[in-house]
């Protein structure tokens, strides 16, 4: 576990924003000591050879962030895997598999603290199953017509851009307001969701709302999970807070609960439809990630909610910017080649 010492260091210094850790995030698998042994391992489905410590480090770093923010970490890991040479389709499917593990260990921690709304979670899972099944077939189709890479990149740019900006703006506003000392959340806010039929009572979330919005949120997130190899926490958490009006305390645990089932479905469907799940790569990533996630979950108690959100927003925007650069700048070779996919 190469990432472990760095992670430990980061946890102990997480309260100090000026620590070297925050600027040299282990998420990017860099900043490892130069003398570290290099051990190449061949991945049977990705069909490439990678340094095992790079893979473990990436898993650990992204796992730390996933524990910290309660997101699957896929929005970072999928692009990172593509950057180090994993075929995009394999990156997406393998990352979905890895998120299953990261989410299980994450949800257990939240379950113990009684932060999972099981009923809401199950409604979201129903939507998520439908969405990920549709998404998996869409993925297969896009792959056949040669536009899957573009769709993956554009989806990331769109959602990361919007969500990242919202998070930064919102949390900066909250931080400023709390400094003045006047902010208080309204006890009963009215959302548009309150007017729809099929209402259901969600005790833990203190809500009495229609099940249509949660199903739609679940569906949409499932679609993204299948196409982008993300858990979708970065969409689902804001949607739960701003759209459904759920209390912040239960959104992380509940979203992790939904992500487990949806990414498990995506793993299964991609295995069957495109044979792109690399189990060896997933196991190494998750070995790093489950450990990282534990430290992340502990560190989350050290930071305040709005600071966490601002930090995540900045990371999200950074990934987005990198993807925009890749899309807009003229590629060094306009031609690309790939094996023809048998229909």
């Amino acid at each position: 576990m190469s990432g472990e010492p760095t992670l430990l260091l980061c946890v102990s210094q997480a309260h100090n924003p000026n620590s070297s850790c925050s600027s040299r995030s282990p998420a990017f698998g860099q900043g490892r000591p130069a003398g570290l042994p290099t051990m190449q391992i061949y991945f049977p489905i990705a069909e490439i050879s990678l340094n095992i410590f790079l893979v473990l480090g990436m898993g650990g770093g992204v796992g730390f962030l996933s524990g910290l923010f309660g997101v699957g970490g896929g929005f970072l890991m999928t692009p990172l895997l593509i950057f180090i040479g994993v075929p995009p389709a394999v990156a997406v499917a393998t990352e979905a598999n890895q998120i299953v593990a990261a989410s299980v260990s994450g949800v257990i921690a939240h379950w113990r603290r009684n932060n999972v709304d099981l009923k809401m979670g199950l409604i979201l899972v129903i939507g998520g199953f439908l969405g990920s099944t549709v998404g998996s077939f869409l993925f297969k189709l896009l792959r056949e017509i040669g536009q899957i890479d573009l769709v993956i990149s554009l989806s990331f740019v769109l959602f990361l851009g919007i969500v990242g900006s919202l998070m930064v703006v919102e949390s900066v506003r909250l931080i400023l307001r709390s400094r003045k000392g006047g902010y208080r959340k309204k006890a009963h806010q009215h959302y548009w969701a309150h007017g729809l039929p099929f209402k259901m009572r969600f005790h833990k979330s203190k809500l009495y709302i229609s099940i249509i919005p949660p199903i739609l949120v679940g569906f949409f997130v499932g679609l993204l999970a299948a196409i982008m190899g993300v858990g979708g926490g970065f969409i689902m958490i804001p949607a739960m807070i701003y759209l459904l009006g759920m209390p912040t305390s239960v959104v992380v645990g509940t979203s992790l609960f939904q992500i487990i089932f949806v990414t498990a479905n995506v793993t299964l469907l991609h295995s069957i439809n495109t044979q792109t799940v690399d189990v060896v790569l997933a196991v190494l990533l998750l070995a790093g990630a489950v450990i990282g996630a534990q430290f992340g979950a502990r560190a989350s108690g050290l930071l305040r909610g709005e600071q966490l959100r601002a930090l995540l927003g900045i990371i999200v925007l950074a990934v987005c910017a990198k993807l925009i650069v890749d899309l807009v700048f003229e590629p060094s070779d306009l031609f690309s080649i790939g094996r023809a996919i048998a229909e």
């Binding site: 299980v104 040669g146 997933a282 306009l334 031609f335 080649i337």
Partner: protein, 249 residues
Amino acid sequence: MTQRTALLFIVALTIGSASQAASQPLVADMSESSISITSNFTGKNILLFGAVDEASDVVVVVQGPREEMVVRRKARVSGIWMNRRSVTFQGVPAYYAVASNRPLDEIASQTVRAQYRMGGAFLDFAVAASTRHLAGNELIEFREAILRNKRREKLYLDAENSVQFRERLFRTSIVFPATAPEGDYAVRTYLLRDGRVIAEQSTPLQIRKAGFERTVFDLANQQPALYGIIAVLIALASGWLAAALFRRT
């Protein structure tokens, strides 16, 4: 490596003298006839060595399994570079390497080189029926894109001057990168004199996934549903295990 090379030279020498007795113009062999892709596979160098009966040129051509390849050209659409035109080629060797003792155009005429595929430019891949509507010079661009991309991936190698002679013995190293796909490879050694091929020896080479890599790959392709279920179960168990371990500490 140098010790092994020396050893192989002795072997080659023995073959060489034996061949002279039988008056064969060309004898060649490789340090290995199969490559196993196991978990520590990072590519492989294979030594090809042999003997000739008198001073001449040697050209080695290696071709990997044939694949159908799609070549896509990006174009700018409202500020974003996206794939537009695509051409599918059939019979594209997944791997191609040529090695010779001096520049190929000094060894043989274009006709001879084309006949024996001595040089990437002479590879013959046909356009798949579905995409046969491109102008000739545009098609050439797509064809060249295969060579360029494959060269960048180190899957197409032109190694002129890499065949080394020591008297009647020659040797060269064939480099297979980690991305070399599994399949049947053909290694052809040509002996040329005055620009004409006077002897040829063909040696098969196999690249196969082996051991654990083989098991995983076969399961993924032959029992995809079972593979998917196993992948999910591993993830569930690992996640739970990690949470359980960390609770005590």
